[in-house]
Symmetry: C2
Subunit: 316 residues, 2 copies
């Protein structure tokens, strides 16, 4: 029988999971609501029932469990103080799964899991050094160096979204000012759009359509040629390109992958980002580091990322 | 007989070399002038004669050659377009040494060699993730991730000195503006001092002692309580602390080591750097990442670094 792993992606709203083969084929998926699990120990029990039936249906053998989660700590196998999850404090989720499944499990934060997914099943196959950036409600990152994720001393490396791009810039919930993700993320670009409206005294005029706008609608506006929406993408790309030109100085990635909602705006975000990146880039790197869309499908990335995390452990 | 390696440090003025044991003991050293070698192929020949005699004198066996050099490319074993060396274009120095010595050789840039030296023989023994910064005529860096130097795709990773800290800042010979090393380096702090003099209209007054000042003299001035010299250290530390707070977001080092002339100013540079670092640092890292002086002696670091590079290869 073919070996598979259970890939689990934990989010604030939903928990998605699926059986994934060694080559990245997703055999079956399902999801549950996060708020249905006020007690996290119940989750492995229910998923074991699901996986047992799914493995039997597909005639495959389960060999491990990979978990991608906000605030996941790879070294400890815990979720630490996740503000968007119902579980408070430190949750030893990896050990809950290992003792329920009697199988190896691994846990990391969602952006790092997605970066490993890119390396196993996406556009970074065979790459030893690359940078993976996910642009969603925040800016997450996974940095791969010498073929391994950079976890750092305490598993909390890879916080590119919290590098400071403006010393006295926008306030960030982290307590500081000017963090990259305050500008380059779905809420960040919307904030930039409203700043532009205000600076042109168009605020009142646009309020009727404006108050409800999100980054997807902003994208539509820009595609329809709205000058200010286009300017918001321009500015966002300019800041991202600048930040990535500094990122390149650390680990000299072969490529930089952009993933997530904002990356799906295509040329609207890629063109100004690449232009700015090249203009700020150290000459020895110029025209040598492509910034490209992730090779993972948006709908599959989370489960593939979590699955690749445990495949990576099993391959060690 | 005990095994030793030949560690070689190539600089613009001099080439230093020595025999180093596996535990980091330097048995004997010597040096030659760089300009004495307009033809780089002559260097391995002369060093072989020297090493053969030195090994015989000390009753040891030579097992490898490590080379630290400006513009050293680890993957290719070459020195590429080094502006401060008499050798133009690309010099295949590693292969010259291997064919002359009939032994394994390895070559990398000097800052990366020193970082490996820190890991083998200095303050980073046993560490898997740390950042090594050398403050001299420029700002060099070696980034260790998962126990390995980050070379990146083309061996040119670790250019922390060329991260941009002021978008329209001082001109850098790299062709851009605002690079960290234009502020945080021996010439950088001197420039800051002169800017302060000018801003206070003290330029003319100080020119008599000022035109010849270097960073060591600036250090003496500051130790004697000179307000502007102290302010120059303050500003330099402030910028370095800010830059390192962003560095921490990439690889979350266990410690950050400062090496080189400017680091020898002690509290004058460490105090403002640490204060600024902590004030800009992401809260999850605060008070957890010590910035400390290198554990290598200034006089031994270059040879120990080059030696550790080849010991590291031989240990693989």
């Amino acid at each position: 029988m073919q070996d598979v792993v259970l890939g689990i992606d934990i989010g604030g709203t939903g928990i998605k999971f699926g059986l994934v083969t060694r080559t990245g084929e997703i055999l079956v998926t399902d999801k549950v609501k996060t708020k249905g699990y006020p007690n996290p120990e119940k989750l492995p029990e229910d998923l074991l029932k699901w996986a047992t039936k799914a493995c039997s249906d597909h005639q495959v053998t389960l060999v491990g469990v990979g978990i991608g989660t906000p605030n996941g700590n790879y070294y400890k196998g815990t979720i630490d103080f996740a503000p968007n999850l119902p579980w408070k404090g430190v949750v030893t989720l990896k050990s809950f799964f290992e003792s329920t499944f009697k199988l190896p499990a691994a846990l990391t934060n969602d952006a790092k899991a997605a970066a490993i997914g890119e390396m196993y099943f996406g556009g970074a196959k065979g790459m030893k050094d690359f940078l993976f950036i996910t642009l969603g409600t925040g800016l997450g990152s996974g940095i791969v160096v010498n073929g391994q994720i950079a976890y750092g001393f305490d598993s909390l490396a890879g916080e590119v979204g919290h590098t400071i791009v403006y010393r006295n810039g926008r306030e960030c919930p982290c307590g500081r000012r000017g963090c990259l993700e305050q500008y380059v993320s779905a809420p960040g670009i919307v904030k930039t759009y409203y700043e532009l409206l205000r600076s042109k005294n168009l605020d009142e005029f646009r309020t009727s359509i404006g108050n409800m706008i999100d980054s997807a609608e902003l994208c539509k506006l820009a595609e329809d040629g709205d000058t200010l929406a286009l300017e918001a993408f321009q500015k966002t790309g300019e800041i991202l390109g600048f930040a990535l030109s500094n990122s390149a100085c650390y680990t000299r990635p072969e490529k930089i992958f952009l993933f997530g909602g904002l990356a799906q705006a295509g040329d609207l975000i890629f063109k100004p980002t690449i232009k700015s990146f090249e203009s700020y880039l150290l000459p020895i790197y110029q025209n040598k580091i492509p910034i490209v869309p992730s090779g993972l499908k948006e709908s599959e990335a989370a489960i593939l990322g979590s699955a690749s995390l445990i495949w990576n452990e099993l391959n060690k």
